[in-house]
Each structure stands twice: as C-alpha cells, then as structure tokens.
Symmetry: C2
Subunit: 473 residues, 2 copies
C-alpha cells in the first residue's frame, strides 16, 4: 500500500470511526448473538489475491461491529471504564504510522524521552511524592496494565528481599505477598507467575464497614509468617478496590512495611486518575512510603488501552531485577549510563511508542480539561446514588467516593441478580456485579466522555421499571 493509497483509505477509516462514535448511542451496548456467530460468518482462510480496504470495512460493519461489547457507549457502566478519546486515538495512530520499537533509548530516543517526560508530567498532575520523579532516583514507565505493574513490583521486591540472590538462585525459600481480601485478582496471578503459588499470597481481612484493609491484621499476618520462617516480600495496597472502590489506609500500612522492610506497592488502577483533582487527593495520603505505585490512564483518564502508568522510588532496584544484556543489544548510549532503556522496566523486550497517545491527551485536554472529566464522572455517580438512596426498594452497598456506585435491591440476592439480567437485556445499558460481604451487588461505573445526565437517568429509569416488574410481578 503506497502512501497515496494509505491517505485515501485512511480518510475512509477516520470517517468510519467518526460515524461510529456519532451513532454509538443508538446501538445495543452488547451483542445478543450466541458464541460462534463471527467464526461462522468468516471464510476458512484469506484469499489468494488481496482485497480492497472497502471489502474489509464492509465486513467490519456486517460481521464484527454487531458482535461487540461497546466499551465507549454512553450506556456502558460495566467493570471499570476503559475510555479512549479523540486525541488518544490520534496519538496512537501516529505511533502506528511511525512503527518505532523503543526497547532501548538507542532504538527510539524520542520514544524513550517522551515517555519519561509524560510520566513526570503525570506525577506532577497527580501531585505524587517527589521520590517517583525521574529527576531523582525514581521514575515512571508505561506498562500494558496494572497486572503487569504488580508483577514487576513483585519481582523487584523479590530481588530486594533476597539481596539480589533471586536473580541467580530463583525461588529458594518461602516468600509471601499480602493484599486485602478485596485486592485485585492480578495480585494472586502475579504471585503465581513469580513462583510463589496461591499459598504465597495472604488475603488480609478488611473492615466490613469500609472494605479497606485492617492494618492490625496485616501486622499479625507478617509477624506470624516471620515466626514460621516465611519471608514477607511485598504488600499490595489498593486505592479504589475493584469491587467497591475502597481505599486502604496507606499511612498505617506504610509504617508497617517500613518496620518490617517489606516492599509497598500501591495499586490505584482505576482511582488514581481522581488525584488530578486536588479535592480527591485525600485518597492518596500516605503514598510517600510506597516503593511503587500505578494507575491506568486507560481507565478513567481518556487514554486508550493499553496505558498503565507505573512509578518506582528506586529505579535501580527494578532495573537490576529485570535486566539481561545479550551482545546484540549492546550499544554506546546504554554503556554511557546516560540513558534509560525501558526494556529493563518490564516483562517483554519490545515496546510501542505509547507515550504519544498520553502526550496527545495531556495537551489536548490540558489540566482543566482532565479535571473537568473526573468531576463530571463523580457528579454523575452522585446523581445516580441519590436516586438509589431516595428509593426504599434499593440500598447502597458501599460508599461511592469516585464514579462507581454499588447498590442492590433490599429484597435480596436473587432479585438483584435478576434485576441485572433484565436491565442488561434491554441493550440500552450494561452494568456488572460483585459481592459485598457475600451479598450480590450491582455496580454502575461512570467514565465515558459520552455519558451525560441523560444516560445516567435512563439507567435509573430502566432499573426502577425493572424493579417494579420484578417485585410486583
């Protein structure tokens, strides 16, 4: 495809996306087709001779788009948001067109340096502790996801806890990671990948009222393990748990980690974005004791997946843990010690130029634009929560400090689960569920830049009507 063919086809694809966004609200949020519909609609292999882009776009319309879950839909309230935005898509498009593979500074100097700059910008925007800035011993890097951030934090923690022996000896004794019972499943997965096994993770109990980790329970667990000859390696605390957006008490947890010399990683995958607003920075109090921290601009900060922003207080530890230097990667810049090679901050070797989409977003929205987006989400969640509180059939299941509202029918688990099925079956909205202290709970998470009061009110109207049918039917 020569550049002029690309230009023509590129306009057509840009048009396709603009039209998709314009009409998105009219589509069902999810597909109702059974498994296998896409497989059945496609041929057994590619054609011998190539086909024009128009043919592919036609199949995109007829085969693919109708069988998607539309994450950017204004009625998508499931999981946590995975928002994108126009500037993010454009930054990603530039990245795809450049096709730079920035594994080393030398293989993409601007790819590396723009990442350093945008992560320092983000650290300033969230008012993160100075120790995470690249101007000192710390620094930030883009990971694909918070799962991978937790994994590399666990590996760096193993490197530290073993005094560097882990790199050579591997797992040669019992190590343990700690998180609350509400910690994300990726913490168990990271521990499994790192060789600790499920038995290597201690789920620390939470305060049933707040769903936040109980520091005294953490201390008890660490002390019991130490007495049993197990080495505590890492504590993963959460700002904004997946289930209910609970905030673990970082000041107390940080003090315990410091006392026992345990790595503290803070997972703020969703709620970290809230810290762009000064009035929501209470959630990050105590972060100055963390060894590492991450949040996902791809969740609630208008940057398309994948973009997890991960910082460490001591980049040297992370690099030592992960570096391998074969001959083919040796180069003068690396040997000068004057550059960062981000391949040493992550699991894979290769890297896309993901800082571009972040740069486009930060510049196009500006500080005020990003704050406005977060404040809109919080206000819409508040608006929805007021409806729940004002209706005797419903109850809130947890506090809603950010843009997630957890609620249920007072009538119990089965009616609540049936309510979720019914509103999702309308195709107008998509919500997901959790369990809070064992009780079935619906989650409504706001985050799309397309979502307005109208969409939140429609969600409420659908829920209220379905509850009426359900409870009287």
């Amino acid at each position: 495809m020569d550049p002029e063919e690309f230009r023509r086809a590129g306009y057509a694809v840009v048009d396709w996306i603009a039209d998709y966004w314009t009409t998105l609200g009219q589509r069902p949020v999810t597909s109702q087709d059974p498994p296998g519909a896409v497989v059945a609609a496609l041929p057994a292999g590619p054609t011998e001779r190539g086909e024009p882009v128009e043919a592919v776009l036609a199949d995109l319309d007829s085969v693919i788009a109708p069988r998607l879950t539309h994450w950017q839909h204004p009625g998508f309230f499931g999981y946590f948001p995975a928002n994108t935005s126009g500037p993010s898509v454009l930054g990603d498009l530039v990245s795809a067109g450049l096709g730079v593979q920035g594994m080393l500074w030398a293989t993409g100097p601007a790819c590396t340096e723009l990442e350093t700059v945008t992560l320092d910008w983000l650290a300033g925007l969230l008012d993160l502790p100075e120790r995470f800035r690249s101007t000192g011993r710390g620094g930030g890097v883009i990971q694909d996801s918070a799962s991978s951030a937790t994994l590399v934090a666990t590996l760096a923690a193993l490197h530290r806890a073993s005094r560097g022996r882990w790199r050579v000896d591997g797992i040669d004794r019992r190590y343990r990671a700690y998180t609350s019972t509400q910690g994300h499943s990726s913490i168990e997965k990271a521990a499994r990948i790192a060789g600790l096994g499920a038995d290597g993770v201690r789920a620390v109990e939470v305060d049933p009222r707040t769903q936040a980790m109980r520091p005294e329970a953490l201390r008890t667990a660490i002390e019991a393990d130490r007495a049993a000859g197990v080495t505590p390696v890492i504590v993963v605390a959460t700002i904004g748990t997946t289930s209910t957006t609970a905030v673990d008490p970082l000041p107390e947890i940080g003090a315990i980690c410091a006392e026992y010399g345990v790595w503290l990683h803070v997972d703020a995958a969703y709620a970290g974005a809230a810290a762009v607003c000064p009035e929501l920075r209470w959630s990050h109090a105590g972060l100055e004791r963390a060894d590492s921290y991450c949040f996902d601009p791809h969740k609630w900060l208008l940057t398309g997946f994948d973009c997890d922003a991960f910082w460490v207080a001591d980049r040297g530890e992370l690099i030592e843990a992960l570096t391998v230097m074969p001959e083919f990667l040796r180069n003068a810049a690396t040997e000068s010690g004057a550059v960062l090679d981000y391949r040493d901050w992550q699991v894979p070797l290769g890297r896309r130029f993901r800082a571009l989409k972040l740069w486009f977003v930060l510049r196009w929205y500006g500080v005020e634009g990003l704050r406005a987006h977060i404040r809109t989400g919080v206000a819409l969640a508040d608006r929805f929560a007021e409806r729940i509180e004002a209706d005797d059939r419903f109850e809130l299941a947890a506090a809603h400090p950010f843009s997630l509202v957890c609620f249920r029918l007072r009538a119990g688990d089965e009616p609540s689960a049936e309510l979720l099925r019914r509103v999702n079956d309308t195709g107008r909205v998509h919500l997901t569920h959790t369990r809070v202290e064992g009780r079935y709970t619906l989650r409504l998470a706001v985050g799309s830049p397309l979502t307005t009061e109208k969409h939140v009110d429609e969600a409420w109207d659908l829920l209220s009507a379905a509850a009426e049918d359900l409870l009287t039917g």
Copy 2:
C-alpha cells in the same frame, strides 16, 4: 473532541503519516543528538487549558521526529525488522477507535472470535501442524511479544511438570529450562520471572559450524540434571536465532523432549513468517512434536508491533496454569464453557483488539502478497550476500537462509566494529552487530516493504567505500 473535530484532525494525522512515509528515505535513519535533547525541548508540564492538535503535530515535527530511530526506513537493516504496513496501521486505527477491551469473550465477542479465526488462518498459511488449530484441543492467541510467549509457555510447563501443584505451592524444588547458547535473552528473562533464576537455565552447546543446538548435548544435560534431582521443565528450540538465524534440529530435539516428558516450545519469532512460502517450510520440519510455538507477524509479516502469534497444542493446560476467577469476571458465557476467554492465555488481564490489524493485513495482501514480501526479502539478502562473497576483504560469518546476512571484515574484530560505526554514522543505513564464535560480526537484516535493490546496493556501496578508507587509511 467531538466526532467532527476528530474527523478533521484525523485527516490531518493521516496526511502526516502519508507524508512521513513519502519522505522517509530522505531522513537520516537514526538521530545523532545526545541524550536529553527531547527532555530539554519540552515544558515542565501540560498547559492549564488544552491545545489544538496542530500544536502537537508541530512539536512532533520539530522535537520528536528528528530524534527517532526510523524502523520503517528503507535503509533500516538493524536487529530484526519490526515492519508495519498501511493495512496494519488502518486495522490498528479501527481498534483504537472501537476501544474494546477483550479480556473475556463476553467483553468483546467479535474481538475474541476474530482472534481465533485469524490465528487459525495464520496456522493454515504457515501449514502448522493440525494440533495447533482451535478446531481441536489447541489454539492460537496474540501475545505482545515472543518474550511473553516464552514466559507463558514456561508457566504452562511448570504446571505440567508439577502435576498442577505449582499453582498452589509455587516453586518448591529445582526446575530447569534448556535452550541453546544462541537462544534469545528472553528465555533467561522468562525463567528469572518464573522463579527459576539464572541457574535454572542450561545453555546447551551448538554446532560451531551451523550455530544450531546439538541434540546429544541436550540429552546429556537433561540426564545429568535428572540424576542430580533437578526436574527438566521446558526446552526452547529456535527457528532462526537472533544472532545468525540458525535453525535448531527440531526432529531430534522433539524426540528427546517426548522421551523425557519435557515441554517443547519453539521460538520462531523472526523466521516463522518464512513458512508462508512452501519452499522455506523445511525450517519448520519436526514442529509436530512441539507443545507450543510462536512467531511475530510484527517482525517480518507487515503487521505493526505488537503482534506475536502463539499457539499451544493443549489449550486446557495453558488455561489451567493461568486462570484466576474473581466474582467480578463471572458471566454466563464463561460458565457455559462454550467460549474462549483469552485473558487466561496471557499475563495481563486486559486486551486490545489486535486481531484487527492482522485481519486487515491478511486480507489486503492475500496469500500471494505475503509470499511476495518474504521472497523479496530473501532475494535482497541473497543479492547482498553475493557482494560480500565476491569481495576478498569480507567474509560471510554464517549461512543466510532467510533475510539476514552476517558478515565481517577478514581484517578482524576492531576493523569490523569500526566499519559498523562508520557506515551507521552516514545516517543512510542502520546495521547492528553480534558475535559469532566470539568474533565481531555485522548483521544486515532486510524486511521493510520500502527496501528495494537500490537500498541494498547503497548499503553495499557505503560498506565497501568505508572498508576501503579503513583498510588503506
């Protein structure tokens, strides 16, 4: 940014890329600026109010583009190629615009099914063994890179070798991975991440003539380890090593793995693409005994980074090794058992819709277009190798079955290293280096769709002239 603003700005970015590709050959392949130039040119943070896209594109031109290594440049001959193409960029653009996060089938049915379909198409295109097709017990998935493919293969192998205990107990005894001395550095990194440590990897010697693994040395290593109470877990064989594109003897290695019950993973990251051409499939002989296999369409098959295609013969083992099921991910489709949830095939939870770019590439080029691309690369490498062979100052350092030529000056290591510096300093080409049996060796890897005979001849002319200066100066 509303859809109409996106449309206008989108056209501008498409134009930017088309113009970049048109003028790419006139740019220096690499930047000559010192570290810090980009950091110094950018402000300390984003502005309070947003900026227009034009301002960002202006900085892209003045600050970013001049400080890149241009991987798509027709004179880029470094590492292995990381090619992209127009159709790949367009597929990726659609993916960015849809913003679908396909962690589960339910969160993007078409995202999951198109991935299954395109990986089955690729398996057909490369004539991979039937056991890797999703229609049986196997199946393919897109990983970010071959590094991650090796890691998940290692984890599945640990699951098997421990009879499922590894998931719970973690690493509780000594395990070992095997690869040749020419295996990629990511194999050591995967073993380190998995908790085996550097001591957990045995580098098996190669035949000095072919640089391919010696099967009898593998057998000796496995037997010695078993006798010492160490459990052999995985053998990583390579089709097309990074240094010289050596091909390990799979039939013999596969027989040894079968005999000792060791997982065989085959890393064909670069050279796998060659198998789209029937005349190059000799390189894949013996693959039917592999438990897993990967290659990177993002290297030599015109698909932008990241796109590693990874197959397993028994997907059940992989899924059991990696699955974690928290409440918030439970859904009817998963519980029906009728769908694939690709989150269980990889390290991270979230996933982009990467099958789209692969689908665009496969359809736009067609089978014949892809074969023509590979054949062009092989022919250009042959052409360059003929120049080397015809010149007494130079010698080939290894066979060149694919599109990489390894060569050096007969005058020795220091002149060869100086030659590389001089030709790279011209800015017209970019080559990298390796060591073969300890001797400094230059590598010229062809892969860009923009590279023609003219560019390969220019590379030769630059090398020849620099050698002249160097040897007589």
